[in-house]
């Protein structure tokens, strides 16, 4: 009898509480107006800790530098808030952070989410609240293109092209310029590499190239057995890793075992200080930014704030994303006469943003047909004998 009373009471209290739920006020923070004279916030959502922490570290340092140097000339006071989405914790963290930023009336936009998984998990929340996301690194095709299903939302943008460009670009280069007949593709069981690997594989197979597909657990550190599995007559090993050190080691071990195959890395392996085995190839969404004249002062300034750190390839797109975001906020401020009424107003300005002297080269605007950069293309580099990257395609 006591048990029944107890259970009944528990359920009763819970349902009474649930009934009052609908009575609770739900002030959507997205409808509070903020003045452009006050401090506005943008959030950086990226893995700052854990196995992919290097991604967040680079993006963080460049985003901070961008806020520091770009906000004032636009007449804005911007605070960068950091949100950590370690890959080990999956997408739930991304959603919790999304709630945090939705509820903060001053957060007008999100730089990120950096990983495709977090993006997919949280973009619907942001979409409903009208918060724009500009990702510098989530390249999953389905975030902006419906292939087969669209996983992104109209509020999700990115400043780097998606896998649907990089994968085929690399594959075509291998077919047309390198005349590869036998290719080994390795993926690392996480969204970035599997997306790229699949994209490249379908193009290669359609062209009649013999493809061997290997899959390594994300925690793999020793690739010796994989190197052994590379056939001695293979031409290329497509290695879309986000850790340039692994690409380096793999290429060295290929030499060690006397294999003739060359390593072909993706934008994640683009780091001339960490991956510099001569003869290898790397693709990237930008030409080497240290060679772009207009970027010299930016790079010098960044280096002063971050002594001893390599420029890296993940950071500059974050700089670019912040630049786009700040420009959009500025436009919204102008249109709204100094008081932004809805976060959605910033979102509406995205397609109007034009940037000359884009940090990744040339000028920048979004494509009219998708939320990707217009005329995005990938550049192929070959590593020379002195370790430098030479543009070859």
């Amino acid at each position: 009898m006591k048990k029944l009373i107890g259970l009944a009471l528990a359920v009763l209290v819970a349902s009474v509480a649930a009934a009052t739920a609908s009575a609770g006020s739900q002030v959507a923070a997205s409808s509070q107006a903020v003045s452009c004279n006050g401090t506005l916030k943008i959030a950086l959502v990226t893995p700052l800790t854990g196995g992919a922490g290097f991604l967040g570290e680079q993006q963080g340092s460049w985003a901070k530098y961008a806020v520091k140097t770009l906000a004032k000339p636009l007449g804005l006071k911007i605070q960068l808030v950091l949100g950590d989405t370690p890959v080990e914790q999956g997408a739930a963290v991304a959603q919790t952070l999304a709630q945090k930023y939705v509820g903060d009336p001053r957060v007008l936009g999100v730089i990120g989410p950096a990983t495709s998984g977090s993006a997919v998990a949280s973009t619907k929340t942001y979409q409903q609240a009208g918060i724009v996301q500009i990702s510098p690194s989530a390249t999953r095709t389905t975030l902006t293109k419906a292939a087969p299903t669209l996983e992104g939302t109209p509020s999700f943008f990115r400043v780097v092209p998606g896998d649907y460009i990089q994968g085929p670009t690399d594959a075509h280069y291998m077919i047309d310029k390198l005349k590869a007949k036998k290719v080994v593709i390795i993926d690392f069981q996480e969204p970035y590499s599997t997306g790229l690997a699949d994209a490249a594989q379908s193009v290669l197979k359609a062209a009649g190239v013999s493809v061997t597909r290997l899959s390594a657990p994300n925690t793999t550190t020793d690739y010796s057995a994989y190197v052994t599995k590379v056939p001695s007559d293979a031409d290329i090993v497509f290695f879309p890793t986000q850790k340039p050190g692994d690409a380096q080691t793999f290429a060295q071990q290929l030499i060690e075992q006397g294999k003739k195959a060359k390593v072909f890395g993706s934008d994640g392996s683009n780091d001339s200080t960490a991956f510099k085995v001569p003869g290898s190839y790397v693709s990237n969404f930008a030409p080497d930014i240290t060679a772009i004249a207009a970027d010299k002062s930016v790079i010098a300034g960044w280096k002063k704030d971050n002594p001893g750190k390599p420029v890296g390839s993940f950071g500059p797109p974050a700089y670019g994303a912040v630049q786009v975001m700040l420009n959009a906020i500025k436009k919204a401020c102008v249109v709204d006469h100094g008081v932004i009424k809805q976060k959605r107003d910033v979102l509406r300005q995205m397609k109007k943003v034009r940037i000359n002297n884009w940090i990744l080269g040339g000028s920048f605007r979004f494509s009219t047909k998708s939320n990707d950069p217009l005329n995005a293309k990938f550049y192929i580099f070959q590593i020379q004998s002195n370790g430098s990257y030479k543009l070859v395609g």
């Binding site: 259970l7 370690p86 914790q89 997408a91 959603q95 709630q99 998990a121």
Partner: protein
């Protein structure tokens, strides 16, 4: 000072009822209660039946969304309720069964993934909620049973290894399950997306309105929590619960008394797994997506810290543990709040450690004075040495006491951090007077390290705090806050 010897509680007026075993009925009296003021407080609180506490708690907690309309707070509250459920489940295995189950979060994952299999486009199966959830719980309990099977022959450490490997196995299976003989079973590292929300009484429980977290899920989770708590309380009071207790205290004696030890172990695994699976469905349905990496080592440590902090074996304890650790982890993300928490903990620790003795005054005064002296010396030497923190409010105020340089040379962080650890460990070795003297610079160094090293990097710092809590708990107070002090018969 106060009476600190343990004492037993009063004998009930009526004595045991007819048909009830006297030894069993007087079981409560033989518990050693805490001595001193805390013990008296506990005794008085114990008069109030547990279910009144539960109702009060649930009522108070359910007022939260009414008071606070921020979606973020609601979301954190929801996550905390999930943590409370997980802690309850782990309590069954570790606290009641005494089995070190390091694969527990894998069962959480089993629940989440099974619900995803049954209610998403993955296999095209969209079972109604009232079917999907019970099926998931049953499957989870079965998997827990399977996991418990090796436990029959293995002792504590071996069981820990096997369950840890089950965790890794689950991870590997879910990550690689996207190409099993060409079939995509688990979605692989990309996980499973677009999972159906709960569909109750004809309504889809909306996940969010205008992007703000909807309260209906929070209340649902709270209701589930209340029901599970009550159910488990009854299980604990039943024969099975008593059998678990005796199993935990002395497995050999339990077996000698004819208890089905193996069966009991399997039962505890199974129950724990069932609770975990139920929590998994809530997680899955709310997030509408599930990824393998969530159910891994970090989550395991978090849940364990909650259980240990609260006191394994005590239901209310583990709930309290979850209530503390869950929001703590979120609060520590923000440097401003983390700073406040740190100084509160520092002051609280010193006060609690010295408790109204003269030493308290000496230590606090000395530390504060030491701080100002150091600050003055640093700013006299080079103004840039104290120019770092431009935060307003509390942070700015503290910046007058702690030295926060504008630029830190790269060797400062590791050196001061390691130095702090070394000093703290040294403090445990020296005798009392030296300790008091050493405490002053240690406290100041701790503040320095916190401001300059830890706050710069809040993310690993949160986990470091957890690790420290876990280790110190085991050494200083293994029975946690509300756990029973176990009397070991030598």
């Amino acid at each position: 000072m106060s009476d600190s010897t343990p004492h037993s509680s009063h004998i009930p007026a009526e004595g045991p009822a007819v048909g009830q075993d006297e030894w069993v009925a007087r079981h409560g009296e033989r518990r050693l209660l805490r001595g001193g003021r805390l013990g008296k407080l506990e005794e008085r609180l114990r008069v109030v039946p547990w279910w009144v506490w539960l109702i009060l708690f649930v009522a108070a907690f359910s007022l939260l969304p009414v008071v606070e309309s921020s979606g973020y707070v609601r979301r954190v509250a929801f996550d905390t309720v999930l943590y409370m459920l997980l802690a309850l489940g782990l309590n069954i295995v570790v606290g009641w069964g005494g089995l070190l189950d390091l694969g527990y979060v894998a069962l959480y994952g089993v629940g989440a993934y099974t619900y995803a299999f049954l209610a998403s486009d993955q296999f095209g199966v969209h079972l109604p909620t009232l079917l999907a959830v019970p099926i998931t719980v049953i499957i989870g309990a079965l998997v827990g049973l399977l996991l418990g099977l090796p436990s029959r022959r293995l002792t504590g450490d071996y069981l820990a290894i096997v369950t840890l490997f089950f965790l890794q196995l689950f991870q590997t299976l879910m990550t690689n399950g996207d190409s099993v003989f060409g079939h995509d079973l688990t979605g692989g590292p990309n996980g499973i997306l677009n999972i159906d929300p709960f569909h109750i009484f004809g309504h889809d429980l909306a996940v969010q309105h205008g992007g703000v977290f909807a309260v209906s899920y929070f209340y649902l989770a709270l209701a589930v929590f209340a029901v599970v708590y009550v159910a488990l309380r009854f299980v604990n009071l039943s024969r099975t619960g008593r059998a678990w207790r005796s199993l935990r205290e002395d497995p050999l004696a339990a077996e000698a008394m004819g208890m089905p030890v193996n069966w009991l172990k399997l039962m505890s695994f199974s129950f724990g797994a069932g609770v975990a699976a139920l929590t998994g469905t809530l997680f899955s349905a709310l997030n509408a997506s599930v990824f393998p990496l969530t159910f891994y080592f970090i989550l395991l440590i978090v849940v364990y810290t909650m259980v240990i902090l609260g006191g394994s074996g005590s239901q209310s304890g583990v709930v309290l543990g979850a209530l503390i650790i869950g929001p703590l982890l979120e609060l520590l993300r923000d440097p401003g709040k983390a700073r406040i928490l740190f100084y509160a903990a520092l002051v609280g620790g010193v006060v609690f450690g010295f408790r109204r003795s003269r030493t308290l005054g000496i230590v606090s005064g000395a530390t504060i004075a030491f701080g100002f002296v150091m600050h003055a010396a640093a700013s006299a030497h080079d103004a840039a040495w104290v120019a770092g923190d431009k935060a307003s409010g509390f942070g700015g105020a503290m910046a007058h006491w702690v030295v926060v340089p504008a630029h830190l040379a790269s060797w400062v962080q590791p050196t001061t951090y390691v130095g702090l650890i070394g000093l703290a460990l040294l403090l445990t070795l020296v005798d009392r007077r030296v300790r008091i003297v050493l405490l002053v610079p240690t406290l100041y160094l701790a503040a320095f390290v916190w401001e300059n090293v830890m706050l710069a990097n809040p993310e690993p710092m949160r986990y470091i705090v957890l690790g420290v809590i876990l280790v110190s708990l085991m050494i200083l107070r293994p029975n946690g806050l509300l756990g029973e002090r176990r009397v070991e018969i030598v």
